[in-house]
């Protein structure tokens, strides 16, 4: 299967005058193939939002790519995300974005239908009537009554607004959709229906969705593959079932073990310590100050991401590198 998006050796920093640069991303490697939902999991400061900023190609100071290569592969054409011109050509048509807070991403003083029309007009050459008709049927497709098109954002509930935004992001059938915590602030019942909508549309259009969320439960329910990030690097990535059944990285293990479950009386513990300051990260493996299985080696050498089982990659010294493995291998998804 050809890749849709490749991330190779990506490092990015936030630089501000007078402050030491914050290493938000360090040597990130993974790739996406068509027609899958990939979840990016991790906690505050792990770099997941920075990753989305880089992928969307909307790099603005103080964020800067230090190293590495991020490219889209569309119909045999390779587009680096740093190529602003090419990116603006494919943006929304081929790669779109579902933002975090639907409350504030819609223009408060313009009716939904009008805003939707602008989005379509900017990317497709359709007649006015044609646009209107298609928008109307698409809005119904995402489970909204037609009247939302005549409403202002404040007249809709959070769930409805998020559906509107999802409709805007998928209307043009892009190959890749980046979703940044798409259900933050929604109540669980609504959250479930919105996630279900994202998955239905993904399957129907054969899109690839890269979904960032801090909630491991959401990844368990929705993602085909999960990437666990810690302190700016990929700690572990595997098909979701495998990752939750048998997590390999001590961070992933602790993270999953810290989640209480209904009907389960087992005592749950937090991971000791707190995530490192990325302006001055610890040497070696960044998780070593919190790791219960820490070895001398971990304090000096940053473990590479290696494939220890088919499609299961982990960056941890507990798992010896197979002789054949190349250092800093790029996990390639095989569908």
């Amino acid at each position: 299967m050809p890749e849709l998006l490749t991330i190779e050796g990506l490092s990015a920093t936030y630089t501000r005058r007078g402050l030491s640069p914050v290493k938000a991303l360090t040597n990130v490697n993974f790739s996406l193939v068509p027609n899958e939902i990939v979840g990016v999991a991790g906690e505050s400061g792990c770099g997941k939002s920075t990753l989305l900023k880089v992928l969307s190609g909307l790099l603005r100071p103080p964020l800067k790519i230090e190293q590495g290569d991020v490219a889209l592969h569309l119909k045999g054409q390779r587009i680096a995300v740093t190529n602003a011109r090419e990116m603006s050509r494919v943006r929304w048509k081929n790669i779109s974005y579902i933002p975090q807070s639907s409350m504030s991403v819609l223009n408060p003083v313009v009716r939904i239908g009008k805003q939707f029309g602008w989005v379509v007009a900017a990317h497709a050459h359709l007649s006015r009537a044609d646009t209107d008709a298609r928008i109307r049927s698409f809005v119904e497709r995402v489970g909204l009554p037609e009247r939302v098109l005549r409403s202002y954002p404040h007249q809709l509930s959070g769930g409805m607004r998020q559906r509107v935004v999802i409709a805007m992001a998928t209307f043009l059938h892009p190959q890749l959709v980046l979703a940044d915590e798409p259900t933050t602030g929604l109540d669980v019942v609504v959250q479930r229906s919105v996630l279900k909508l994202i998955r239905t549309l993904q399957r129907e259009f054969g899109m690839t969705v890269l979904m960032v969320s801090h909630d491991m439960g959401i990844h368990y329910q929705v993602s085909d593959r999960t990437v666990v990030m810690y302190a700016g690097s990929v700690a572990e990535t595997a098909p979701t079932e495998a990752l939750f059944k048998k997590p390999l990285h001590p961070y992933t293990q602790r993270l999953i073990a810290s989640l209480p479950r209904l009907g389960d009386e087992e005592k749950r513990e937090s991971i000791t310590g707190s995530p490192p300051n990325l302006a001055a990260p610890p040497p070696g493996c960044r998780f070593h100050p919190r790791c219960p299985a820490v070895m001398e080696h971990c304090k000096r050498v940053d473990p590479p991401l290696i494939e220890v089982k088919p499609r299961h990659f982990v960056a941890c010294h507990l798992y010896p590198e197979p002789d054949s493995a190349q250092p800093a291998a790029t996990p390639r998804a095989r569908a």
Partner: protein, 298 residues
């Protein structure tokens, strides 16, 4: 997770206002404020220190020959009333600043006190005073000031003028402080302070007032500007106490004696220019102070 949370801790918002201003000289330069405060200091020296060295009282008429152009003896020449423009200007700057500062300090204190009180206490006090404040703000000040001043033409003392200016200007800070206090009151640390057994007065003084200081400094300088502007306006049309040298009365007399058309530019240009520079300076200070507020809500 964004650049904010990733960054090293923001500069301590606990720094005193002065420290914040001072530090802005360095890396996070706030050139506006530094420039504004420096020129303001210069004005203060000219207005309050310099007049002590005046060889003749500039307020008294006919002490000097009239209409002299600038010379070594009279750096900015003399007026048609036989005053030294230079020393008159220094005294006028001092008096204008005095009026401005007097109005601004009292206004800010009353405004902060009233605003904090009605914002924090709420209820019926808030409703009644809120309506009064809104009405006072909506009423245009200048015509009423002119009405007042005109009725007492000549008899109105500078103190009376200052009192009237205060009476019409306190509602502005009060309304803004009220709004700020209303939002501060919703902050969790206020509820925590209550459950620490703190009394209302202590909560206002210790928890709320520190958050208002940068704003109060901005408001203070801005009110100096407004007060001087109003006084100057009244003087220019001749309804303030014209025997009291201020920038406004100085311009008034220059206009009365047709300084502009008689070519006595040294009489009219210095006060006009000084007024313009003073206003720009005060504006720089006031907008500079409001910018230091940024560090507040880190």
């Amino acid at each position: 997770m964004n650049s904010e949370t990733l960054a090293t801790p923001t500069r301590s918002s606990a720094e005193s206002l002065l420290a914040r201003v001072w530090r802005l000289r360095g890396r996070h330069a706030n050139p506006q404020l530094v420039a504004g405060l420096s020129i303001l200091a210069l004005f203060l020296v000219i207005g309050f220190v310099l007049p002590r060295f005046a060889p003749v009282d500039p307020a008294v008429w006919n002490r000097l020959p009239r209409d002299l152009p600038p010379s070594a003896a009279h750096p900015l020449g003399t007026t048609s009333l036989g005053q030294s423009v230079f020393w008159l200007l220094a005294a006028s700057i001092g008096n204008s600043l005095l009026i401005g500062l007097g109005v601004a300090v009292v206004t800010t204190i009353i405004g902060v006190f009233m605003g904090a009180l009605i914002g924090f206490v709420g209820g019926i006090t808030d409703k009644v005073l809120g309506v009064l404040i809104d009405a006072l703000i909506a009423i245009p000040t200048l015509p009423i000031l002119i009405l007042f001043a005109a009725v007492f033409k000549g008899a109105a003392s500078v103190t009376a003028l200052v009192i009237i200016l205060i009476a019409f200007n306190w509602p502005w800070p009060a309304r803004q402080v009220r709004a700020m206090v209303l939002s501060l009151r919703e902050r969790q640390f206020i509820d925590v302070a209550r459950f620490s057994g703190q009394g209302t007065a202590k909560i206002i003084v210790r928890e709320i007032v520190p958050h208002l200081l940068p704003w109060a400094a901005a408001n203070l300088t801005n009110t100096v500007l407004v007060a001087i502007s109003l006084e100057t306006g009244l003087a220019v049309i001749g309804v303030s106490n014209l025997n009291y040298p201020t920038l406004g009365t100085m311009i008034y007399w220059a206009l009365q004696y047709q300084a502009m058309f008689l070519g006595l530019w040294w009489w009219i240009v210095p006060p006009a220019l000084a007024t313009i520079v003073l206003f720009i300076t005060l504006f720089l200070c006031s907008s500079g102070f409001s910018r230091t507020q940024g560090g507040q809500h880190a």
